[in-house]
């Protein structure tokens, strides 16, 4: 680990200013990912700005929906009465991630900013365009069992590791960010990006901006009756998704009034399934319809040497998640 300066910010403006002043500064919240990466030499910040004292720890009802502060911990959010009541999908997704100890430390903003767990990204002795642009993608011709089916590029086939974000994108969350020029909002689906020619960029946040919170729209509460988060993994806890599926349905009897679906473990970003949602709208729930939906979800999927099983697992998982959500 490199020597670094450590400062604490107690005001949002001051935290932004330290990002403006020092191009090597990183924000530190729960630290569950950043500290590991520093120990491994994957990132070498010259300054850590501890933002844990910033006033972003509230979950509150607003006219638009539910506003969640960026520093709310994953555990607090998963257990929050308003989340359990109106957005149970989010609670399921969060609790499927990491371990209780990690969820107690990790924050909402930190969860969104976590880096990929690709084995080539975390080993500084192997090539990785995300860690070292231009060095090549180790995973492309290597061990790519955990890697993407959708939206990858020749520069990077890594996946976003978050569970929480899969539910957030399915529920049409909005990200509130603040920078030197003021505040702006980013739809959750536009927050993370595909690798393209710039694998080093995980998201569309400017370097001098920080996430202040996430807002769940009131309308998304309409889906609370029929939700499921299915995470298929190599062991029962503390493992990243081989594939995960977030399903939220608004039902009228057996008729699907509206559907929200997203997948994890298949792309560089949480993978929203808009086409499938359109297909399911107005259909009567049945295994046959679900199977068609699952097939539709796989359009454009591209597998590599070790992740071909995901072409079978992903549609199976969609089918099972839809069955469970409507059971």
């Amino acid at each position: 680990m490199n020597p670094f300066q450590y400062t604490r910010s107690s005001a949002t403006g001051a935290a932004i200013q330290s990002l403006v002043k020092d191009p090597q500064a990183y924000l530190l919240a729960g630290g569950t990912n950043l500290i590991d990466l520093m120990k491994m030499g994957v990132v070498k910040p010259e300054r850590l700005v501890d933002i844990n004292q910033l006033p972003m720890k509230v979950v509150e009802k607003t006219v638009r929906g539910l506003r969640i502060g960026a520093l709310v911990t994953n555990s607090e959010l998963a257990d929050h009465p308003l989340v359990l009541q109106d957005y149970p999908l989010l609670s399921l997704a969060i609790n499927a991630g990491a371990s209780p100890q990690l969820r107690n430390m990790a924050t909402v903003g930190g969860n969104m900013m976590q880096r990929t767990r690709c084995g080539y990204f975390v080993d500084t002795a192997m090539p990785c365009n995300k860690r070292e642009p231009g060095s090549g993608c180790g995973a492309l011709g290597g061990y790519n069992r955990m890697h993407a089916l959708f939206g990858a590029s020749e520069h990077c086939i890594a996946v976003n590791p978050s569970d929480m974000c899969v539910a957030m994108v399915a529920l049409d969350a909005v990200v509130h960010v603040k920078g030197p020029k003021g505040e702006r909002v980013i739809p959750f689906g536009g927050f993370h990006r595909l690798p393209g020619d710039h694998a080093e960029k995980d998201n569309t946040l400017e370097r001098t901006e920080l996430i202040t919170g996430v807002e769940l729209p009131a309308a998304a509460a309409a889906f609370k009756g029929h939700v499921h988060y299915l995470k298929v993994r190599d062991r029962s806890s503390y493992a990243f998704a081989l594939v995960s599926v977030a399903v939220a349905l608004e039902m009228d009897g057996t008729m699907i009034k509206a559907a929200r679906l997203a997948m994890g473990g298949v792309a560089h970003k949480p993978w929203r399934l808009h086409t499938v949602e359109e297909f399911l709208k107005g259909k009567t729930a049945s295994d046959e319809v679900f199977a068609q939906a699952a097939k539709l979800a796989m359009q454009g999927a591209k597998a590599y040497q070790y992740n071909k099983f995901k072409l079978t697992l992903a549609p199976n998982a969609i089918l099972l998640a839809l069955q469970t959500a409507t059971a």
Partner: protein, 712 residues
């Protein structure tokens, strides 16, 4: 007076210390002037270190020394013609790199953080040469090791299975598996003058460590003190003295201060051994009645180019089942990898997975219950050595296990039993492991207050050695266990074997038992009674009456000719009930029942825990654990505990351990055969066979992850 008896469920004597933080592990000793060593690892896989630029590191704050192949003080045991040459990698002795991750420098600094930072400033240049790490590609380069027990074995006719009425011939693959104990490997070393050194090191055998360090540095045994009182798991990874331990001693000599060298988790993937990647071919041939005609077992495992590692992968096929014809072949494939090491159930766990899977396959071809098939080929004598068993209650293991797991619910046709959306199946896997007894010495000391202290240089890597020894002493002496203390993990204590090969209870237990008897005889004599009087002994009272401040004796205990006249093994039968999801391929083990013939059980409580621990290790082997190599770079791509999956609590089902608990009349005075290995051997096959029973899918490559089930 309360009497503690062998077999009682006794709490761990050091349990409170362990759960309250009172147990001091090797990396936790507060030593004045302590410095910290951090290793720098090579990033090429084969070749030569041309230069190591240490200037920036040496200038960094708090750095005391940077040791490289170009400036390392000579280690006497590394030199040609050394009296006791060090086996394996001779770290920093030359400029050759044999595997990726091999240390090429050691930074010593005032703090761990400063040493770690400076390690990152060390820059090496290399001349890399082509390397081989791809096991399958190099499969044909396998060689038969020189040592006798690894040579080809033929009984009757080789490959006789081929001509049988019913034949199974399949390959089974086990990937490399890491020991991954929770405690990192750590050594603290400091010198007293030029010829005395003390180590606090993670060791399964302090006497072995003492001999290794004395040999490496040309010291008298008495001048090497090894302490390893508490060990946070080892599973075989601390059976030997590793290069980094010698490097810590070397560094301490150079900086003339105590040095603590801790490996990182990532370094533990390459520097302290692993269960080697192994591909086995099993050929089984049976008559229509299920009687085996021939068994062939061939195995290829990976080893290092710089040191040969061998284990008993094929030996189980020579004796576990009756067959007039049996042949085994064992080969090792040298690669540019770190050297493997024995890992719990070494060899046998690997071999048993293949043999017991093949036997299961045969049972379906014969349309015979797998237990019935085993009974039809039961060995009442060891067919390999043509000797009687010292004891064998495997049949009883089958019976009790079948009853506990509910074997009668097992569907004869695979893939036909469901519980909701899950497929349900049952499986059995058996194991055997040699029951050994090594020469051991124990010192017993009685004080006038009636308390007893016993010392022996054994270890406790988790089974509860001190607890079991206390119980043996209490039972033998006929006194409450509270009056007895047992000390271990110190090389100045009387000689005991390394804790490996499931022999501690047998070896050290016998020494404790015999030392207690010797003490009792001496007391009887002092009291004017016949030495073998069975009258109750007033332990403290005799000393008080005679005015003796202490009565102390050291007793050696060893086996006679038993092993020449009998074949001695522990046996186990593991039973699994699994649920498999047809859409996701996820396997959930719902229940495990382990039935063990391990001879007399000394402490039912810790023995039960030991069985559960071994079963969890078996679960990892069969379902989750795999160290994945990228052969383009010669590096692991999952060298950490997040991506190398050991089972978590949520993976571990209800595990039931059942003991036959019949003393072996031959092996030793306690009648205990051993549990450490047998607790794991057979678990993988039991689960894999249950997966087949549930799904009709035979997975022959471990671990059985969802992808394999889905695509099978």
């Amino acid at each position: 007076m309360k009497k503690d008896t062998i077999g009682d469920p006794m709490n761990r004597v050091d349990g409170r210390l362990k759960v309250t933080g009172g147990a001091t592990y090797s990396g936790e000793y507060k030593i004045t002037g302590l410095t910290y060593g951090v290793l720098v690892s090579a990033t090429i896989t084969s070749g030569t270190v041309l230069s190591v630029d240490t200037k920036a590191a040496e200038r960094a704050l708090g750095v005391l020394a940077v040791i490289t192949p170009f400036n390392a003080p000579k280690v006497p045991g590394f030199q040609p013609g050394a009296a006791k040459p060090v086996r394996g990698l001779k770290l920093f002795n030359d400029d050759q790199v044999h595997f990726n991750g091999q240390p090429i420098a050691l930074v010593v600094a005032e703090t761990f953080e400063r040493a770690t930072y400076a390690a990152g400033l060390v820059k090496a240049t290399y001349k890399a040469v082509p390397f081989e790490t791809d096991f399958r590609k190099n499969f044909d380069k396998g060689v038969v090791p020189n040592e006798g027990r690894y040579k080809d074995y033929v009984r009757g006719q080789a490959d006789a299975y081929r001509n049988a009425a019913v034949v199974v011939e399949e390959d089974y693959m086990l990937p490399s598996e890491m020991h991954n104990p929770m405690e990192l490997h750590v050594t603290t070393a400091f010198w007293d003058g030029d010829d005395k050194v003390t180590l606090y090191t993670k060791s399964q055998g302090v006497i072995g460590s003492q001999r290794a360090i004395a040999g490496a540095f040309g010291l008298n045994l008495a001048n090497v003190q090894i302490n390893s009182r508490f060990v946070g798991g080892a599973f075989g990874s601390s059976l030997r003295t590793w290069p980094h331990e010698i490097a810590a001693v070397q560094a301490a000599k150079l900086v003339k201060r105590p040095v603590k060298l801790t490996l990182t988790r990532e370094q533990m993937f390459t520097l302290v051994g692993y269960r080697p990647l192994t591909i086995q071919k099993i050929g089984l041939g049976a008559a229509a009645d299920g009687k085996l005609v021939g068994i062939t077992h061939e195995s290829h495992s990976q080893t290092a180019v710089y040191e040969e590692f061998t284990e008993n992968a094929v030996n189980v096929s020579r004796f576990l089942y009756a067959s007039p014809n049996a042949n085994t072949r064992y080969k090792v494939v040298p690669l540019n990898v770190g050297v493997p090491a024995p890992m719990r159930g070494p060899g046998e766990a690997t071999g048993s997975f293949a043999l017991e899977s093949a036997l299961d396959e045969l049972s379906y071809k014969l349309k015979l219950d797998p237990i019935e098939l085993r009974l039809r080929n039961y060995t009442y004598r060891d067919p390999e050595r043509d000797l009687p068993w010292s004891s064998k209650f495997l049949k009883e293991c089958y019976e009790q296990g079948a009853q506990r797991i509910g074997w009668d619910k097992r569907p004869a046709a695979p893939g036909t039993l469901r519980d909701g959306e899950w497929l349900v199946g049952y499986g059995i896997g058996c194991g055997a492991f040699g029951a050994y007894r090594s020469k051991t010495s124990a010192k017993i000391k009685l004080l006038p207050d009636g308390t007893v202290n016993i010392q022996s240089a054994t270890s406790d890597i988790g089974p509860g050695t001190a607890t079991a020894m206390t119980l043996i002493a209490a039972d033998t002496l006929g006194m409450p266990s509270e009056k007895i203390t047992f000390e271990l993990g110190n090389s100045s204590f009387p000689v005991a074997p390394t804790q490996g090969g499931s022999q501690t209870c047998s070896s050290v237990g016998s020494a404790v038992h015999d030392a207690c008897l010797a003490l009792m005889q001496k007391l009887n004599t002092l009291a004017g009674l016949a030495a073998d009087s069975t009258a109750p002994i007033d332990y403290g009272g005799i000393l008080q009456k005679l005015g003796l401040p202490v009565l102390e004796l050291t007793h050696d205990s060893q086996a006679g000719d038993e092993a020449k006249n009998y074949s001695m093994y522990s046996f186990s039968a593991h039973f699994a009930q699994v649920y498999v999801h047809p859409l996701t391929g996820v396997v959930k083990v719902k229940r495990l029942v382990a039935v063990v013939d391990g001879g007399k059980i000394v402490n039912h409580k810790t023995a039960g825990s030991q069985m559960i621990g071994g079963a969890v290790g078996g679960l990892g082997m069969v379902l989750t654990e795999e160290a994945v190599f990228d052969d383009r770079y010669g590096r692991y791509v999952n060298g950490n505990l997040a991506d190398y999956h050991v089972p978590v609590n949520a993976d571990v089902p209800d595990i039931e351990a059942i003991f036959i608990d019949k003393p072996d009349p031959i092996i030793n005075p306690v009648g205990s055969k051993g549990l450490g290995e047998i607790s794991l051997i057979g678990v993988a096959a039991a689960v894999a066979n249950a997966v087949y029973n549930a799904t009709g899918k035979r997975i022959r490559e471990l671990p059985i992850t969802p992808d394999k089930v889905l695509l099978a």
